[in-house]
Amino acid sequence: MNALRSFSARADIETILSQLGAERLDVPVLQPADPFLDTAGEELRRRIFLSESETGETLCLRPEFTIPVCLQHIGAGETGHRRYGYVGTVFRQRRAGGNEFLQAGIEDIGDADSARADARSLGDALAFLKALGVTGKTVTMLGDQAVFAAVVSGLGLPQSWTVRLSHAFGDRQTLEAALDALARPVPAPDVPADIREPAEARDRAALVNALSMRLRIAGLENSGGRDAGEIADRLLARFDAAEIAPDETALATLRAFLAITAPLAAAADALKAFATGNGLDMDAAIAGFAARENEMDKAGVDTSTVSYDAAFGRALDYYTALVYEITTPDGLVLAGGGRYDRLLTMIGAKSAVPGVGFSVWLDRVAAFSGGAV
């Protein structure tokens, strides 16, 4: 089905985008593949259409719009606040069904007031769907990685746990596996005497020396990869961890946090109760959460259809805080959005640039609203 045909014209989408105050941006269908593979990981390779230029550059058909829009923003040397609207086809490999999907959305880049920008993003996404003729009930699920990060840091867990947990956040299965693994004590690794002795003595300088020697022999000393200091630190952390029993209370607290779900109006209170009940300092994260909700009310977002799920996130390390999905009552995702404050520096921006955006799946909207626009 061609959704563009279902909507009376592509011009309608452009009208909606301009009514929402977004400037129109066109990005090429053919994109360099590296920024996508670098940010999302190699698994993406199986799901995108790759090609190669005559000069050997790996290219792909754009699998989404956020990265191309951000690249354009960086490439144009933009420093201010811009809101880009787009519409077009994205391409993804699937075993069955079609490979082309029509998307439209808005990327809001460079607004330092993140509470306001977040609220505007969700408000725009809902208004967009309404303008497309989605009159039936939709459900919005909202998650916040910053709140999860506050819980993990409040628990004072070892650095390696923090890394592991924050990477697993957003993928329930991986997160469960990480929590299970953390419940088991890990013995110190079996290493030769020249490494074990300084490690057991917690003599970091001697350990770095011994490791440097090993790296030098292997020709890895200046290879640009991991150095002796990094290996020493992780090794010492492993020796420490082997002597500390897993923190059962912390794991139970984390599990209790991940089970929190609440209507948005009650979510901040639920988080406050959780923080107080567990003696965690989450004030900053909760204040940010509440400020955003306040901005949503100001922007006229109907928050009665929004609910918060503490375990909801995206397992991509450039999403930093808000994520949301607008679904039909049957769970079909019509639009998805989120804040990606880490993305622009990952793909080349010289300094940190905040960003938040959403995409609407036009084909699904057309099917859901019966194609009548």
Partner: protein, 233 residues
């Protein structure tokens, strides 16, 4: 008599010699090609069996296309060279030669990394520390992705294509770790690399494969089964 059965066997090297030896012992002696330059021949006492000599990786591809009835080749080549191989070919027999493991190997000096989970942690904050993703040199793209992404949930790495001397990639600064084939491990050790505890992706050996297809007639099926049974060690 039904249409002949075509079996593809490797066209050179140890795999070829071992396969010919095994077929002879199984009662399927392969006649030398009438002309040394041709790549097709027959089996002496089985007029309905045709033999095609193909390169080991072409055999994997032809099995996928279903253009041959049977093929002897390394399992690594089938799993790597043929997308969705589980649903496209059947492994009829492991032949007990051509052993080689496809493994994940890291520098020996990474004493903090013994398992895939350890490597996952290193990968997770690699960009933060080094401004780039962890690099894996390999020619086994598909096996690497399956092992890292699907089996161990590790996403944050990049694959660097390496078509030879892969074990030298870390010292050359091209990659941090490698996925490569090893039979004794001596090349890895010589390059100061070690295999992770759960780093064996595939224990490969020469195998007899057949394309999965429906509606083969009974006589052919019987002949194929008989051949597979004879070849099984």
């Amino acid at each position: 008599m039904s249409a002949p059965i075509t079996i593809a066997i490797p066209s050179k090297g140890r795999l070829k010699e071992e396969t010919l030896k095994r077929m002879e012992a199984a009662g399927y002696p392969v006649e030398p090609p009438k002309d040394a330059r041709t790549y097709r021949t027959v089996v002496a006492n089985h007029p309905n069996v045709e033999v095609a000599f193909l390169s080991a990786s072409e055999i994997a591809r032809e099995l996928g296309n279903g253009s041959i009835d049977l093929g002897v080749t390394g399992e690594d080549l089938v799993r790597e060279g043929l997308p969705d191989s589980e649903n496209r070919v059947t492994r009829l027999a492991q032949l007990g030669f051509g052993h080689a493991d496809v493994v994940v190997a890291v520098p020996e000096a990474w004493f903090d990394v013994a398992t895939m989970a350890d490597l996952g942690l290193v990968a997770a904050d690699f960009r933060h520390r080094h401004g780039r993703r962890l690099r894996i040199a390999t020619k086994y793209w598909r096996l690497t992705q399956t092992h890292f992404s699907q089996t161990h949930g590790i996403q944050l790495y990049r694959i660097i294509e390496s078509l030879g001397a892969t074990e030298g990639a870390p010292a050359a600064g091209q990659a941090d770790v490698i996925v490569d084939i090893t039979s004794t491990g001596s090349t890895l050790r010589a390059n100061f690399l070690k295999v992770l505890d759960d780093g064996v992706i595939l224990q490969s050996q020469a195998c007899l494969f057949a394309p999965k297809r429906d509606g083969a007639d009974a006589a052919r099926k019987q002949a194929i089964d008989a051949f597979a049974a004879a070849l099984t060690p």
